[in-house]
Symmetry: C2
């Protein structure tokens, strides 16, 4: 069996995208599944073109929505330039899902046998630099007195294992629900979309890794937004959805100010 090895070429050597790094807005926006690009050394990972372009490789539309939120709130964006099939940056190396052997209905040949050296190479090439970039950015803001809340932006497939999903937007959280509560309250008052708490995934699915690392460990507010990807398949849909999410987020911030809650843009302890 062929062994795949992740070796980033010189022009791939910085796998982390940072935009609007000096933005003075209240958020750091994170997009772990921004790209379906495979490192050249990984070839096609043994996958069909269909699989390589499908939701198993990335979150279609998520980066576009994240960029619009970054612009709307003048807030930095950090995104991963390579496919989660090589390393899923929303998972620790302890999780089999960090380099999945199978994703939904697709076997991933390049991940069937991954020895320790290759596992570590991918962790060091993709995962550590990604989270170091997020940590460094938040450190810099914090030390200069600019409080941060973390928003991670994802998309999910409308049909999963053959079953349709009615939920349109998921607002996900782990132990700290402050920010999610604010957004859910705004969505409930508005009812334009089917917005649900911790659907179609939640903490038990291991999807809150980035929230724990960058939000909960620091005591700063954090939320994960999941959008059904058929709603953000083109630019028009992305702009509508980003506009909708911006309203919810702005409303959540406004309610916070009124209620003297402090889940956004205020030191939490």
């Amino acid at each position: 069996m062929r062994k795949w090895e992740c070796v980033l070429s010189p022009d791939e050597s910085d796998p982390v995208g940072v935009e609007r790094g000096q933005g003075q807005g209240p958020f750091v926006i994170v997009c772990e599944h921004a790209s379906s690009t495979l490192p050249q050394s990984m070839g096609d990972m043994g996958l069909s073109e269909e699989a390589r372009l499908s939701h198993i490789a990335w979150d279609p539309g998520a980066l576009a929505v994240a960029r619009l939120l970054s612009a709307r709130f003048d807030s930095p964006l950090v995104f991963q330039k390579f496919s989660r099939l090589v390393y899923d940056c929303n998972r620790p190396p302890e999780s089999p899902a960090s380099m999945p052997m199978k994703s939904e209905i697709y076997a991933v040949p390049a991940n069937e046998v991954v020895d320790g050296a290759e596992r570590l190479a991918r962790t060091q090439a993709l995962y550590r630099p990604f989270h170091a970039a997020v940590s460094t950015l938040i450190d810099e803001r914090t030390c200069h007195g600019l409080a941060t809340s973390v928003i991670t932006v994802h998309s999910f497939t409308p049909v999963y294992f053959g079953k349709s999903r009615a939920v349109e937007v998921g607002i996900l959280h782990d132990a700290d629900a402050r920010f999610a509560d604010g957004i859910l309250a705004a969505a409930a008052a508005e009812r334009r979309h089917d917005v649900r708490r911790n659907e179609p995934y939640g903490p038990a699915d291991g999807v809150t890794h980035s929230l724990i690392l960058h939000g909960i460990s620091r005591g700063i507010p954090n939320v994960m937004i999941e959008v059904r990807n058929d709603l953000i398949a083109d630019q028009a849909g992305q702009e509508v959805m980003a506009g909708y999410l911006s309203e919810l987020i702005a409303e959540a911030i406004g309610q916070q100010d009124k209620n003297k809650k402090t889940f956004v843009n205020v030191r939490s302890h």
Copy 2:
């Protein structure tokens, strides 16, 4: 007012101590408050010698006990070489306690006014390298198939704000109580010491930062051990306490095997 600046000299340039890094045992042992040493550039931080050697600067005895546990379980130890008064590595930069203006009854002149640049300098010189070292070590073990549980070792002062503390050993945890439960069950069966859950500190005091970063974010078992420092003031006391803690830890591992619980040395997800 004098402004203190943390600039590590060439011979201070590696602030992170790692011992038994190749140890194949089931733990990574972390000691954030191992040392009372100040970087040369920080002078005396405006403190009396008494204050500089007191528990506000470090956890007396903790490193010695951590080293004995590291040897007993052939497990790596990571410790901070500089005083927590410069940067407390068990706190994120968001926490005022990361560079405390006051600690118990002592004002800390060098921390009264810390501007953004200095705050960031200390964060980058001491905090980031420390946690990067722990993360890298666990990554390496995990990728090579060696599961890890995290133990952080601390000590606390017997008299705090003039009040005596009866508790002798604190077993602290955050959302994941698996490892702590095992140790507490062993201690309850044994009763040699006054051992308590989440005393004299607990998650609400912000002391579980390292546990969240390195344990909870990965889904691996983790526990923080706090020993009253009068019990580990000399080598004899340190050896007795390390022996006692080793028994509790070994008992917890044994019970785990019997109960098919998986809080130590087994992939948790």
